[in-house]
């Protein structure tokens, strides 16, 4: 069971201008996401997608949802100059939707 809220600190520039490095963001984890939402998700695969990442060593990413197809979520950064393509994300890897920054 997920907690309703999580907090994260944004690192790096791919979500500029809305989310700057060092911004603290709050996510709400009990809501279904829609296209246009900014979400935080975790990577459960290693860099080469060969082995699952051990619990506690996951990396969290913040990106904007650009489409959803076949229970997969496609995401991208706002600042396309510094954001590489990300593979589609499974719904299970989503942490929550960003509802505010402080």
């Amino acid at each position: 069971m997920k907690l309703p809220f999580s907090v994260f600190v944004v690192y790096e520039n791919s979500m500029l201008p809305v989310y700057k490095p060092g911004d603290h963001v709050v996510t709400f984890n009990w809501k279904r996401i829609a296209v246009g939402d900014v979400v935080v998700f975790k990577t459960t695969r290693s860099r080469l997608a060969l082995a699952p990442v051990r619990k506690g060593l996951e990396r969290f990413y913040i990106k904007r949802v650009i489409s959803t197809r076949n229970k997969m979520v496609y995401v991208a950064g706002d600042n396309w100059r510094e954001s590489a393509k990300m593979p589609p994300i499974s719904n299970l890897d989503l942490i929550g939707k960003v509802i505010g920054k402080y």
Binding site: F5, S6, V7, F8, V9, V10, Y11, E12, N13, S14, M15, V18, Y19, P21, D23, H24, V25, G36, D37, V38, V40, R47, L48, R59, F60, Y61, I62, K63, R64, G77, E82, S83, A84, K85, M86, V98, I99, G100, K101, Y102
Partner: protein
Amino acid sequence: MVLSCSLSPAIWNGLGLGLHPRSCKLNAVLAVRNSRQSPILILCARLRLVKFLRVLDFVLKPKIALAHCDIPCGIYETNTLLMAAQTVVRMVEVMEALPMDKPSLQDRNNFIRCVHVKEKHASLCEEQLVTLWAYFFKQEHFEKWPDLHGKFWKAVNLASDNKQNVSREKAKELMASCREISQIFDQVKVAPKDNLVGVVSDNPESPKKKLMS
């Protein structure tokens, strides 16, 4: 959203609450309006609430959310890979040439330095291989060369073996594997962009020719 409309734009923005991403247009409108407000007022409001809300961090420790995945620079080359593999071979040769019976202090020093350089260059080789494997080669390349995954797997493991062992055969196998991968890389690699300066992989006078022979 209702709250955002009911509050003055300066106060809302000053509270430090980022608007919902869907309301980006509204955010932009507010930013324009806010630019007409006193910056001191905005700063004061922001500082007060930021200080208050960040008390939350003592309760819920924030984790790092990476916004940036990787810079798609598109610069790839195999000179470093070949040089690192060649260095591993050379270090093994130098270590084998050192006297093992009653080594002098100088010999011991040289031996340790060789081990250090071998370790460093085997790691560099491994890193370069993984970068090419994960980022340069695409699905169509693996379809064109079906044994490419196997070649990379073998080369990465050989780099690791060379860190664990001092073996001329393993070092030469690593060099051969890296050359094979480099040959495939040369068939795939397109000409560099005009505005890139300092790309050495396509320079005919580069030391690559020597390393490949």
